[in-house]
Structure formats: C-alpha cells, structure tokens
C-alpha cells in the first residue's frame, strides 16, 4: 500500500514538473523565436526565412554615434522604398540581437522610432523588408555606459 502511494505521488510530481516546464514554451510560441536567437543571422532566418541582406542607402538610420547611456539609445529608421512590410532593428553584440520588429500593414508609413538598450559598443543594424526582399543599413554606436548591467 505504501509503495503504491509513493508511486502515485512520484507520478503526480513528474507530470506536474513536465507541465511546468512545458508552460513557458507554450506561452512563448506565439512570440517569434527570433527574439530568443543569439545570432543576427539566426534571428534573420527565424524572422524572414532568409539572412540575405542588400546594403541600401535609401534607408535612413538615425542613431547617435556616441551613446552616453546604453540603456536608452534612440533609433529611427526611415525608408522611401515602396511596399515596405516590415522593419526590424538588430544590435549584434546584445545577448539576443533582435531588439524590435515592426509589421507595417498597408497605409502605415515606413518610419519608426524606438528606444533600445545596448550592452556595449556595437553595430546597430536596420533591416527593411520591401517586396519580399531584405535591405539593410548599419552604423556603429559607441557606448560609454552599458545598458544591460543596471
């Protein structure tokens, strides 16, 4: 009898543990796994299914050359291309490079601003998806105080 009880409680415990580990994954499923990817190319592949970028000066990336405070770095991305459907911002040395991704339905302007954190001096990359192709523009930002340590 005692053995049965023990088995029962063991079984209950393992299923509970399994359910608990499965939970966050389920909740994360809706959110693209690109945000958890540790590399720029990996995140690009998760997000767009391709990491092939064409550098294009038609993209305007406005970001300070020197950021005194890495925890608040203003970034503005603007593009004059037609049919822009998505704009994403990457910081290549952050633990998860993909900072933000904007989906632009018809009617939305290809211009977004946001404030992001940069852990150290690194390259900030804007990726614009237009007509199914990926274009990019990048700039280095020198960070004097990192934004990840707190």
């Amino acid at each position: 009898m005692q053995r049965r009880l023990l088995l029962k409680s063991l079984l209950g415990f393992t299923t509970m543990a399994a359910a608990m580990t499965a939970m966050p994954r389920l909740a994360m499923a809706k959110w693209s796994k690109a945000f958890d990817n540790g590399t720029v190319d990996g995140a690009l592949n998760d997000l767009y299914g391709s990491a092939e970028l064409t550098a294009d000066d038609a993209i305007k990336l406005k970001v300070p050359e020197i950021a005194e405070n890495g925890s608040v770095v203003p970034v503005t991305v603007k593009s004059k291309m037609a049919n822009v459907t998505n704009i994403s911002i990457f910081a290549d040395k952050n633990p998860q490079p993909l900072a933000a991704s904007f989906t632009l339905p018809e009617g939305a302007a290809a211009e977004v601003s946001i404030r992001i954190r940069l852990g150290e001096t690194q390259v900030v990359k804007a990726v614009v998806e237009a007509d199914g192709k990926l274009y990019t523009k990048q700039q280095e930002v020198k960070v004097t105080i990192g934004g990840c340590g707190g």
Binding site: A27, M28, W31, S32, F35, S71, V72, V73, A91, N94, P95, Q96, L98, A99, A100, S101, F102, T103, L104, P105, G107, A108, A109, E111, V112, S113, I114, R115, I116, R117, L118, G147, C148, G149, G150
Partner: protein, 100 residues
C-alpha cells in the same frame, strides 16, 4: 500609457510612451544576488476602427518605459485609436486616444 496622435497632412502621427519595467530576466538584484524575473512587453498593437494599423514585437533590448512613434494613413481628425500592449506574463493594457 501616454498616447499622442496628431494629423500631419494625410498621415496620423502617433507617439506612445508605455509605462513598463521591461525587465530582461538577465539582471541580478545587487542586494540579494537573485535574478530579477523577466517582465517585458512582447507586443504593441495599434488599431483604428477594426483595422490593425501598426504592430510591433519587442525583444528584451527595448528600453524601460518604451517609447515608440509611427504614422499611418486613413485616419481623420476626431477619430479614436486604441493601443494595446501584452507582456510576457500575459498582462495586457489597452488605452484609447483621440486623433487631433
């Protein structure tokens, strides 16, 4: 959440300041040395009528109290837009604002 929406020619320019800690889950509390649990906005959506006019997905690198600006066509002075954010703990907040 503070929202300012203003018509500029035929585009509605929207500026949003959401109040949120945006904890990455990578930071440690200096006193207790324990990891501060992650709490960050994952999704910020703007609707105008029944149409989604802007959709942003955020990663952990978005700053505390996120500021975002964008613009969209099709709105008129006096219209109402609604902004909704959802964070990783499934907490959500919707705020409506007039287009001026």
């Amino acid at each position: 959440m503070k929202i300012k929406a203003k018509m500029k020619k035929d585009m509605a320019v929207v500026k949003v300041l959401a109040k949120h800690p945006m904890e990455t889950g990578l930071r440690k509390d200096k006193k207790t040395d324990k990891v501060i649990p992650a709490k960050f906005i994952k999704e910020l959506v703007c609707t105008h009528g029944d149409k989604v006019v802007f959709h942003a997905d955020f990663g952990r690198a978005v700053s505390k109290n996120p500021y975002v600006s964008f613009s969209f066509a099709g709105a008129q002075k006096g219209d109402t837009i609604a902004m909704t954010w959802t964070d990783n703990t499934n907490e959500t907040l919707t705020v409506e604002a007039p287009v001026k």
